[in-house]
């Protein structure tokens, strides 16, 4: 991003336009005693050329999938992104500072959002989906709040095999709305103990496949939620839906997820896009924006935001969500991705992922690792090593391999365990190389 210059003349013009003499007058609302006096502890400015050099130097410290062979997933995945995604979302009609929702001049954008909703609902096997949320973690927290509002209950039962960061976000939301989170232990890597799901529980939250890569038994989860009168919330990887039966087939009430694997770069953690779908009966509690298809007064088909009265700018303090926007550009990227790869393409992405995963399991166990949990996996698995996983990971970084996520910091009992992710872009040679280097250091 280039410098955006403000000349002295520009500043004067802007101040004159809003009727203010000095920039300081803009802060007159802030009481004197709260204002900072003195010099900011910052270096002096750099010219554009030197600033770029400085930033490149800092950026060079990053590790990325461009420098290392990438086996790290844990929520964000190194997947192939067709060039058409970048080409479409960079167009001036779409690349705007704020999503234009006005139907009078935004039919194109509104249609892409409508298509996005339709595809997400179909992928998850659900009736309706919203226009997207910030990311997978906030989608999940919103689903918990919606469940509390729907059931009039305040307890949220969440599996320990749900992404640890998602659970942290959930805790923050729950704390601020005085709901209680209870974590379900998963010593064998999958969610099987439902004793915490009782008649005070608003929802049961499980992930599919879960954080350890295991494919949860949603039939059992549905039965436990139903017995308690609780809703079933499933966090689901959209790519895995190309092979697994979607949560909708098991009767899930809400399905949420991270849309990053659908054509969005890992980008050091953002921007992402949250997916959110539910059964039709909850549509009036669905958080965020929804675009609907309708007709104008001349009978022509068109698109517009709908069910707006759910949202906080209208519903005020009675609204169950404060999200009155969507992650439009990233939702567009996911839409273009899904259109580009199509149904068979997404299936082939998922199949390649499974093949690479099974090959990696055989190679890495030959190399001295052990599979920690015995259940079925999709594209990720927990590899137990004879020694501390963080040390092994760090050693392999030195040899050009990002081996995965050491689980010790999140699950103290798993400090010898590494969460390894495979995608369709890994090759046999890369996996063989990883296995050879792992064998050499164990």
């Amino acid at each position: 991003m280039p410098y955006i210059p403000h000349t002295e003349e520009d500043r004067k013009k802007m101040l004159a336009t809003i009727g203010v003499d000095r920039i300081d007058d803009l802060f007159c609302e802030i009481p004197e005693n709260l204002r900072f006096r003195g010099e900011l502890d910052m270096p002096t400015g750099l010219d554009e050329h030197h600033l770029f050099l400085h930033l490149f130097e800092i950026a060079a410290k990053n590790l990325s999938s461009a420098k290392l062979t990438w086996f790290l997933g844990a929520g964000l995945y190194d997947r192939y992104i067709p060039a058409s995604v970048g080409a479409v979302i960079s167009r001036g009609e779409f690349l705007t500072a704020y999503t234009p929702y006005q139907p009078e001049f935004s039919q194109g954008y509104l249609q892409t959002i409508y298509e996005f909703q339709s595809m997400i609902a179909e992928l998850y096997g659900m009736d309706v989906a919203n226009a997207s949320m910030y990311d997978g973690s906030t989608s999940m927290a919103e689903a918990a709040l919606m469940s509390c509002a729907q059931t009039g209950r305040g307890k949220i039962a969440v599996s320990e095999a749900v992404h640890p960061h998602y659970r942290q976000v959930l805790e923050t939301y729950a704390w601020s709305s005085s709901h209680q989170c209870v974590e379900i232990a998963t010593p064998e890597g999958a969610t099987t103990d439902f004793t915490h799901v009782d008649d005070e529980t608003a929802c049961l939250i499980v992930q599919y496949p879960n954080f350890f890569g295991q494919i949860e038994d949603l039939t059992a989860a549905r039965a436990a939620a139903t017995a308690a009168g609780a809703l079933l919330v499933v966090v689901a990887d959209p790519v895995a839906m190309a092979l697994l039966p979607p949560p909708g087939e098991f009767g899930a009430d809400v399905v949420v997820g991270e849309g990053q694997p659908l054509g969005i770069p890992m980008g050091f953690g953002g921007p992402m896009v949250g997916l959110y779908a539910c059964r039709r009966e909850y549509v009036r509690r669905l958080p965020g924006r929804i675009v609907g298809r309708t007709h104008d007064h001349e009978g022509r088909s068109g698109f517009t935001m709908t069910l707006r009265t759910r949202e906080q700018d209208i519903r005020r303090e009675k609204a169950t969500s404060n999200i009155c926007t969507n992650e439009a550009l990233m939702a567009l990227a996911a839409t273009v991705y899904l259109c580009a790869v199509g149904k068979t393409g997404l299936r082939s992405v998922a199949e390649s992922t499974v093949r690479n995963t099974q090959y990696a399991i055989s190679k890495l166990t030959e190399a001295g690792g052990r599979i920690r949990f015995s259940g079925r996996v999709f594209g990720e698995f927990v590899l137990e090593l004879p020694r501390n996983a963080t040390e092994v990971r760090d050693q392999l970084i030195g040899q050009g391999i990002m081996a995965g996520l050491p689980l010790g910091p999140y699950y103290p009992k798993l400090e010898h365990c590494l969460l390894v992710a495979l995608t369709e872009v890994r090759t046999k040679e890369q996996i063989d190389d990883f296995a050879a280097k792992l064998r050499a250091i164990l």
Partner: protein, 126 residues
């Protein structure tokens, strides 16, 4: 604005028809006119106990959502199932087919404290 003389009223524009210990409740003609086209009515489950002035449901129009408040305490004994598919009945017949819930009143004196048609008319005119 039509204010039937055989009903009682609240400041929040609900009407109440008392028959024995059963109170039938809806929103007034004035209320539906203010809301505009009503697209959805959310009603409580039968059997729910309500405190006076507790919110028991919502009525959604194309421009807003308003809460419905219990004018009298008691238990919900019936809700108007027709409103699920035909919420516009609240617009076309607010005092008749547009009724919303029936409550078995637990405190008869609460009904006596409701507004008379004249008092409600006075509020509309003020």
């Amino acid at each position: 604005m039509n204010v039937p003389t055989d009903l009682k009223y609240t400041k929040s524009h609900e009407w109440v028809r008392m028959e024995g210990d059963i109170a039938t409740i809806g929103i007034t003609e004035y209320a539906q006119a203010e809301l505009g086209d009503i697209v959805f009515v959310e009603l409580p489950d039968v059997g729910r106990a309500l405190q006076p002035e507790e919110s028991f449901g919502t009525v959604e129009s194309v421009k807003t959502v308003s809460d419905l408040y219990a004018p009298v305490p008691g238990e919900i004994v019936e809700t108007n199932g027709k409103l699920g598919a035909q919420s516009e009945l609240v617009n076309t017949d607010p005092f008749g087919d547009g009724w919303m819930v029936k409550i078995r009143v637990s405190d008869a004196s609460a009904a006596e404290r409701l507004l008379s048609p004249d008092a409600y008319q006075a509020i509309l005119e003020s």
